[in-house]
């Protein structure tokens, strides 16, 4: 189905169906079709495809979604580790492969 597949069972995505109002926003914003609406409630149908971009959490008016969002970039993590900060791809400079 998917051409690319990343590591399985690692993502931090959580959905609380009790809070879900079925507004469809998560379905609309997810770049990997992780969600679907079943019986007027959102459902995670492809969890391993999640890249933790955080779009669903940010756009859920019912606060039913939780995910530890961030940049999936090795260089960003090294930079963050060396500076003792959160991972950052430092896109403000003239370089940074994550911002091509």
């Amino acid at each position: 189905m998917r051409e690319q597949e990343y590591l399985k069972n690692v993502v931090t995505l959580k959905l609380d169906q009790k809070k879900c109002t079925g507004c469809r926003r998560c379905v609309e914003v997810c770049p990997h079709n992780v969600f679907d609406i079943k019986n007027k409630k959102a459902k995670i149908v492809d969890k391993n495809a999640c890249m933790e971009c955080g779009a669903c959490e940010k756009n859920c008016p019912a606060k039913a979604i939780e995910v530890k969002a961030g940049v999936g970039c090795a260089a960003a993590m090294v930079t963050g580790f060396l500076r003792g900060t959160a991972p950052t791809c430092d896109c403000s400079g003239d370089s940074g492969s994550c911002c091509s």
Binding site: E3, Q4, E5, Y6, L7, K8, V10, V11, T12, R25, E28, V29, C30, P31, H32, N33, A49, C50, M51, E52, C53, G54, A55, K58, N59, P61, K68, A69, G70, V71, G72, C73, A74, A75, A76, M77, P87, C89, C91, S92, D94, S95, G96, S97, C98, C99, S100
Partner: protein, 325 residues
Amino acid sequence: MENIKRVSTELTFQDKFQSTLVRWGVGRMVHKIDPGIYAVNNPTKDSPVFVSANYKLSFDALRKELKGIDAFIMVIDTKGINVWCAAGKGTFGTDEIVNRIEKTKLKEIVSHRKIILPQLGAPGTSAHELQKKSGFQVVYGPVRASDIPAFLKVGMKVTPQMREVTFNLSDRIHLIPMELVAAAKYVLVVIFAFYMISILTGKTDAGVRAAINVLLAYFAGAVLGPIMLPRLPGKSFSMKGFFVGLIVVGASCSFNWIGRGPAEIFSWMLMMPAISSMILMNFTGASTYASPSGVQKEMRIAVPLQLAAIGFGLFLWLIERLFGV
């Protein structure tokens, strides 16, 4: 409408040339677009409003798809960064859009209360908060600007295909220049160091072999890796990078560049896959599907192995240089 800047849907030769430079990391910040409202064709008060980043490639990708469509483009200030990266950092975000709506007096320019955001702006934008703060309803458009005509035709509906981010061969090839540029300075320093040590220990040819082998590993990680990505074994990028490194080890062996003595040969067999593994691991950032949790997990395993392979390889290589094993 008089004082609104108009913008063409045709990209000029200069636009394309600048875009190519930007792809190579040249003048990314010079070619920023001024934030504000732009008119495309002959928009009226009822025309749709598309929001874009002030990154040249984002803006150009949008306007060239609006041929024959009357519309407004509201460019927001993302510090010259593309939509998706800016959304990840929050610069393509709710507050900037709300402020830009105020500053540009969008409410006087259009009579409707709807703005179309690129879907990839969603990680930084909260649609419901934006509506609360600005009065504008958010419609998330397709991921790719090329789907905009189809999206408008069916009354602003997005199909699952339009929502899905791809990472096909062409996407990956477009990213290769930045991969080459990002690693170039490290590669040059490393080659210089190997070469100097070789000269100082009296054997220039070992330095030439070092330069060739490092360049091969660099090519494997930054060019071959992205091209072959789905075909390489493993799920993690570091593993794929290791395997693509083995390919160039094979190439180096068959051309007899890998080394003279067993220590030198073995040193490059260790270091080349480690280098390409490191470089391709970096490609997680450019990829459109690697999750931070996944990257963290693979790094915890891969980085110690990469460092050990390079450390031990370097040790062997120096042994050969100093004692001629």
